[in-house]
Symmetry: C2
Subunit: 87 residues, 2 copies
C-alpha cells in the first residue's frame, strides 16, 4: 500500500493500479499471518513494522538476502541485509 | 502496524508491544494473500488500502459487518458498513 500511495502521488489512480497489478504478477507475495505478527512483536526489533517485514521475509524458503534502505534497523537479522546499491 | 505506532507514540515500546500481543490473542487475524491484493487493485475502491481491508474482511465466513471511521469510502461494499458509534 505504501508503494501504491507513492505511485498514485506521482501519477494517477489508473496508472498506479496498473503498475501494482503488474508488480503482483512478478512478485512472490508472502501471506502475513498471526504467527508472523506475534514473532515481530516478541522480537528485538525497535520498530514493529521492521519486524513484520523481516519475519515475513524469512518464511521464504530460498531467501538469500533482505533489501532495505535502513540496514542499521536490521542488525539482529540472521540473513544478509543489503542496501539497494549493494544488489 | 498503525495501531502499534499510535500506542507507542502515546506510551512506550514495552507497553505498546504488550498491548499488541494482548490484542493478537483476542483477534482473528486474516492472512493477507496475493488474491486479496489483486481483488483490491481491480476493485472500484478509490484507495487501494481500503480495498485491501475490505477484501481481507470478506474472506471471514461469518462476517456480519465492517467497522470504519470512513463509511463513505465503502459505498460499494456488499456487507453492512458501520461506524464505531453504530456498534
Amino acid at each position: 500500500t505504501t508503494c501504491y500511495y507513492l505511485l498514485e502521488k506521482e501519477t494517477n489512480v489508473d496508472t498506479a493500479k496498473k503498475a501494482i497489478l503488474n508488480l503482483l504478477n512478478y512478485l512472490q507475495i508472502v501471506n502475513v499471518t498471526k504467527e508472523i505478527l506475534v514473532q515481530a512483536v516478541r522480537s528485538d526489533f525497535g520498530e514493529f513494522e521492521d519486524g513484520v517485514q523481516y519475519f515475513s521475509a524469512v518464511t521464504i524458503d530460498n531467501i538469500t538476502a533482505f533489501i532495505t534502505r535502513n540496514k542499521r534497523d536490521f542488525k539482529t537479522a540472521l540473513i544478509p541485509i543489503l542496501s539497494g546499491e549493494e544488489l
